[in-house]
């Protein structure tokens, strides 16, 4: 019994070691390509700059700043001697540590942001950059700088659109369905059933489905997916059968189908364009989520510092109250935004590392917040 267990364990190690090797290799290739790309643009600087080791050279932010200047054609504010520019302060520690996956993700973001779009003029894409550089000076400990947000939105737009397209072309279209969002369209469960059907037509009778209630369809789809397709349940019918089901959780769940069955159906439709490989949509989603969690954490750290500072500062009662009110507004907004992110994924109810860190930070700030609330009011 033990021998078998060990055998399995070591073969698991072999497998995970192999995947690690592939990942490392992929990282190395990306590093080389991205470095060349960066250098091709840095060469235009006066004096020309160069990156030799991407993960090392990116740490002080100077070359990154120069790159952004070259790409945007604008001068950006830079504080001498500062370790990091505020424009991308979201990844401050990770960049400073040179963590490969983060650095590569960041460069990728920059590449996407500055790609030439045939449909939009170059000039309009530069606008957000100029507004963000001016808002850099403001001491607002609030939402991420406009550029970052725009990039995050665009990223989200890309993954979401791609996922929607996947659903449409692989499932929805065969049953005369149209999927436009990851919210209300999914409420009646018919779309879920159609996705299951596209993978295993024998499991679902689409005619029957149309006659059934929302809850019945949702329940059946989820349990079929779990028991027959091996896709863990991430949703409860009660949560989906509402006016505004949570888009993010539905997207995450549907992405599971994509991950396990990227090409459902025996034949692919002609002329089907896969803009992104199915596996990559999953990666994009994961990356976005990690990014958002990190952004929130940074915000919370900043907020905590602000709260501490406010607690200790001299200043009139009215000043303090003003600060208190603006903190409260930010706090509430962020809390609403982060609520879905902090929900445990999967039935085990465990939080991922990022989520756990975030929750810790959140709890800390909340505690301080309560204390300062009390102090100010008294």
């Amino acid at each position: 019994m033990d021998q078998r267990k060990d055998g399995r364990k070591s073969s698991l190690n072999l497998v995970s070691g192999f995947f690690q090797y592939l990942r490392d290799e992929q990282e190395a290739v990306q590093k080389r390509t991205f470095t060349k790309w960066i250098n091709s643009h840095l060469a235009k600087c006066k004096p020309p700059l160069e990156v030799t080791d991407l993960f090392e050279d990116i740490k002080d932010g100077v070359r990154l700043l120069a790159l952004l200047e070259v790409l945007s054609g604008q001068r950006l504010p830079c504080e001498q001697g500062r370790r990091k520019i505020k424009l991308v302060n979201v990844h401050a520690t990770d960049i400073a540590d040179g963590r490969p996956s983060i650095v590569l993700g960041l460069v990728w973001t920059v590449i996407l942001y500055f790609q030439i779009e045939e449909l939009t003029s170059n000039l309009t894409s530069l606008q957000p950059l100029s507004t963000s550089s001016s808002s850099v000076e403001s001491s607002e400990a609030g939402s991420p700088p406009p550029m970052k947000r725009k990039v995050v939105q665009r990223f989200q737009g890309g993954a979401k659109k791609a996922l929607l397209r996947w659903v449409q072309s692989n499932a929805a279209q065969f049953h005369g369905l149209q999927v436009k969002d990851f919210g209300p369209s999914w409420r009646d469960g018919v779309l879920f059933q159609s996705v299951v059907h596209s993978i295993r037509p024998d499991l679902v009778d689409m005619e029957e489905v149309r006659r059934r209630s929302n809850r019945e369809n949702l329940e059946e789809a989820f349990s079929l997916a779990e028991n027959q397709l091996g896709i863990p349940r991430l949703l409860d019918p009660e949560d989906v059968d509402v006016d505004k089901p949570d888009e993010k959780s539905i997207m995450t769940y549907v992405a599971q189908f994509l991950k396990h069955y990227p090409n459902p159906g025996l034949c692919e439709a002609d002329g089907q364009q896969d803009e992104f490989c199915p596996g990559d949509i999953e990666q994009m989603l994961e990356r976005e989520e990690r990014q958002m969690l990190r952004e929130l954490k940074v915000f919370l750290d900043q907020l905590e510092r602000e709260v501490l500072r406010a607690q200790g500062s001299e200043g009139s009662l009215t000043d303090k109250y003003q600060e208190f009110k603006s903190f409260r507004a930010h706090f509430e907004m962020k809390r609403k935004q982060s609520e879905p992110l902090l929900q445990p994924i999967g039935r085990e109810g465990k939080l991922s590392v990022d989520q756990a860190l975030l929750k810790q930070a959140w709890d800390r700030v909340s505690a301080r917040w309560c204390r300062s609330n009390v102090a100010i009011r008294s």
Binding site: T33, I116, N122
Partner: protein, 111 residues
């Protein structure tokens, strides 16, 4: 989007079917087709051999560098070694190629 553009430009070429930014580019023919579309005098497309990816990559990248000023961001050895080209790397290169073409005035953008 970039993929549509690639498909449109390589449509007349036999042996090219671009469906994504990874496997479709594996044999190097797609790169050659794209480059040839803009620089048809640079080489003979029909003499190319899909079973010789490394040569195809080298031809495409060097031509693009020479005539479009597009820096060779991708390494043929990397491309061959991996099971499928890394889609972000291919995307980055194509995007750069496109940018160089725009700068040369070979591609119209709406302004």
């Amino acid at each position: 989007m970039l993929l549509d553009w690639c498909r449109a430009k390589t449509e007349p070429y036999e042996g090219v079917n671009i469906r994504n930014f990874s496997s479709s580019w594996k044999d190097g023919i797609a790169f050659c087709a794209l480059v040839h579309r803009f620089f048809p005098d640079a080489f003979e497309y029909y003499t190319l051999n899909p079973t010789k990816p490394k040569e195809n990559f080298e031809l495409a990248f060097s031509t693009a560098e020479r005539l479009a000023g597009c820096p060779p961001l991708l390494d043929p050895d990397d491309l061959i070694r991996m099971k499928e080209p890394d889609w972000k790397c291919v995307y980055t290169y194509i995007q750069e190629f496109y940018r160089c073409l725009v700068e040369k005035g070979l591609v119209k953008t709406k302004k």
